[in-house]
């Protein structure tokens, strides 16, 4: 349980910082090209708690899946889980692109960064969440 919580907290901190760096800084100009698709800055800030809850949900469910079938595999198993989940998510992103008028480059940037994000997230979880026997020398 302790390792679960530790993995959750570490992965959450990474996801939060990555999300801020990517969406709040690096892709800011790309988002600015389609202002009609986004809330105003003040509206986003008033709904910021949903970002925190959403990211917590992603990390919680990720660690739960890791604990269900990947535990003991270490960093590589975490990365494998991250890659599988993200490639399936890229499929979902294609679906959103099919119905929402997002610019294509936003989907490409989102997918590439999503893959990097989930690889690092998986590595963090895999490195921290180990069964008791695997931690013994």
């Amino acid at each position: 349980m302790k390792k679960f919580i530790l993995a959750f907290v570490a992965a959450y901190i990474f996801l939060f910082l990555w999300g801020w760096l990517l969406n709040g800084v690096l892709l800011k100009d790309v988002y600015a090209e389609t202002p009609n698709l986004w809330r105003s800055q003040s509206e986003m800030m008033s709904l910021f708690h949903w970002i925190i809850i959403g990211q917590a949900l992603i990390v919680f469910a990720f660690v739960m899946i890791y604990a269900s079938g990947f535990v003991g595999g270490g960093v590589m198993a975490g990365i494998r889980l991250g890659v599988l989940l993200e490639i399936a998510a890229i499929g979902m992103r294609m679906g959103f692109y099919a119905v929402q008028p997002f610019p294509g480059k936003l989907i490409v940037y989102g997918s590439v960064s999503g893959l990097i994000e989930m690889i690092i997230l998986g590595a963090i979880v895999g490195a921290i969440y180990k069964p008791a026997s695997a931690r013994k020398p």
């Binding site: 999300g19 709904l47 949900l57 490639i87």
Partner: protein, 132 residues
Amino acid sequence: MNLKKFFTAFIAAFIFLFVFGFLWYGTLMRGAHEEVPALFRTKPDYPWLNLGHIVMAFFFTILCVRVIPAGGLGAGVTVGILVGLVYAGPHLLSFAVQPLTTKILCGWIVGAVIQFAIAGGLIGAIYKPGRG
């Protein structure tokens, strides 16, 4: 890995994900989506929609087979619910940054969990490597 069972499970998952998506998001939620027309295309881009579902179903099937190599309906549903929650998270993020309605947010989250729970159950029920 039993390839025949795997591909049967993948095809079943793809058909289910596509049909459920059409019924839930395209039909039941159509009215909710029409409340914010600026956020949606007038007509879906079907090649991307089809490709997206194929990719999603294929990698979700691989994930299920990895997590529950022995298969099983209950285990598949459990994995599906967890995966549905992983994908429900981004819907909450979208709600915070896009002018989506609460109705759309709830519909998308409930839809994702139900969709992946049933798809996971289907995969778990079909992919039982030791039984032929």
